[in-house]
Subunit: 354 residues, 2 copies
């Protein structure tokens, strides 16, 4: 298949074309993915999620730059997938691409793709997974998957990643703090961005106490958090607390470090990259990488199975029968559950009522 | 069925028990819903969604009070369902229930239920729909369905409603504005809460120009928006613009009015209730109510069908075969799509590879 060969050879235009096919769920896209699948599985997938307004896009930008910077050793090829599940109707991606383009445009080692939801949530997760796999097969070694918000959709998409960054910022209201609680448990690395703003210590304490709930060991490291306070005051990302936590964590369990960044100035991006690399090392060492890969593929398989089952059922279901059942449902003669039974058991809807 | 009789008779404890059964998806809950279904379909369902921090809970409170107030005619029985899809792991609801309790506690005409996600998104939508139906059958005439955020999950849940309020506030950042764009199209009524804050005019203009994109007629009413400026300056919810829009809208098409509220002070709640009632009247008059009921039930039916199909398939699938396919997938010998084909066509996984 020509398209597959060209994508593997690193042709950007063909890759862009393929990603569109994947997003649209065409058979061309599906067949190409089948052929590319054996070539994927090498990239490190980094999920970036968190409440709106925390500066995720800028952070992703700077992290991408860190991977591209010659000073950090061999530059890695970076793919960025920006997913917006909150945009079910617009059909277009509305993330801050212009900012991004200015920073990373013209670098052939970076490929950026924005995705918006087109209908079902399952559809978006499947499409995102496909796009990530294609980038992976095309040789992008680090793939940043950024979601616009912090809802369940974002959690589903974050499950695609090997390392998940949850981005917070000082001064978020209680309502947003509640959202954070929901995604807290998927965090491998916690980032307090905009850490030059007032209230950073309160945010740090809040995250720290949430960590203590989920990782009792963290209590041991409270001292190091205290130490870091003056760094915070000077608006310098504190390195100490997360370093200490990691040393301990490597032995048995990963404890999410809390990193401070000021993404607009690029502060903390290098430390963030280091933390991601430590997490990668931990995943490999502990065998968790394999386990995550497994969970990832099983979860993807399950979504595909659900969608295919529904699709096939719909195809073989006569429209008239379905319409009849809907009419009876509208008249409230049968309940939705009875309607499902009637439809799935292939019985006549009338018989099922008696 | 005793439980059903007691719920229909208005017994609160039994209702609470039933809602738990529905949330947990037990057969008791399912059977009760079957029996209650013919009694439901009378309530007006109001969805309330919008970005975090916009004060939705407080607004819902005040709207509920408006319906309970004797001065507004016959008080209506009000159900409040607060849904938090962003909390997939906590298992508990974390919305501002304490505030709410203080306001509405002891009023037997109000029933409040908080729900958090327990696993799948489809599951939460199904459970919410069941809870709403039970409250409806139990005689609650107005049911407010509030979601914590503004993601796709919230959009799915907002589809349950007859009238959907989208809540905005002055001064939200661009990132949150982007979210708003995504849910804009499901709004029947737009609310700018916290309208005593600076920047309210900019927010109003932004919403107005989005309205113009979707409803070209709105251009006619820009003058009335101008008129309302001084109201805004005085922190008084402006009535004029939405009144005029509605008069026109009633003739053919509903144009979402933009309402200004200060929920913490209860300002604008009465006008909001009036707008909801006008929307209800429009829905009845235009025949759209019936159409929305239909869409609602069809969408619920589809979710149930998908879940049941997946459940049944999983039950009849031998674990060993599934495990074999997953292993092959992990070794990247077959792609996820091939794996699905192999599993769903009942062929041996080995045969499907050749």
């Amino acid at each position: 298949m020509e398209l597959v060969e060209e994508v593997l050879a690193g042709r950007r235009l063909q890759l862009a074309h393929l990603l569109t096919q994947i997003e649209n769920g065409t058979s061309e896209g599906r067949e190409a993915l089948d052929a590319l699948f054996p070539h994927a599985g090498k990239a490190h997938l980094i999920g970036v999620t968190g409440a709106p307004g925390t500066g995720k896009s800028t952070l992703v930008n700077h992290l991408a730059r860190q991977y591209r910077d010659q000073q950090n050793g061999e530059p890695k090829r970076v793919g960025i997938v920006a997913v917006d599940p909150t945009s079910p109707f617009s059909g277009g991606a509305i993330l801050g691409d212009r900012v991004r383009m200015r920073d990373l445009a013209g670098d052939s080692g970076v490929f950026i793709r924005s995705m918006a939801s087109r209908g079902s949530l399952g559809g978006l997760a499947t499409a995102t997974s496909g796009v990530v796999q294609a980038l992976d097969a095309a040789g992008f070694e680090v793939i940043l998957i950024e979601t616009v918000g912090a809802g369940q959709a974002e959690v589903e998409i974050a499950r695609l990643a090997h390392t998940t960054l949850v981005v917070d910022m000082p001064g978020l209201g209680d309502d947003i703090q509640a959202i954070k609680a929901g995604i807290f448990e998927i965090a491998d690395i916690l980032v307090i961005n905009k850490s030059d703003r007032p209230g950073v210590e309160a945010t740090q304490r809040a995250l720290q106490s949430m960590l203590q709930l989920t990782h009792p060991k963290v209590r041991l490291f409270q001292d190091s958090l205290m130490e870091s306070r003056h760094h915070v005051a000077d608006h310098i990302p504190a390195e100490l607390p997360e370093m200490k936590m990691c040393e301990e964590a490597n032995e048995a369990q990963w404890i999410p470090p809390i990193l401070l960044t000021v993404a607009t100035e690029g502060k903390g991006a290098a430390e963030l990259k280091q933390a991601v690399e430590r997490h990668r090392a931990y995943l490999v060492q502990s065998g968790e990488l394999e386990q995550r890969e497994r969970e990832r593929l099983v979860s993807e398989l399950d979504i595909l199975i659900r969608e295919t089952l529904a699709e096939r059922w719909r195809e073989q279901q006569p429209d008239e029968h379905y319409e009849q059942v809907v009419e009876t449902l509208l008249k409230r003669e049968i309940s939705p559950w009875r309607a499902v039974e009637s439809l799935l058991n292939g019985k006549s809807w009338k018989r099922s009522m008696s």
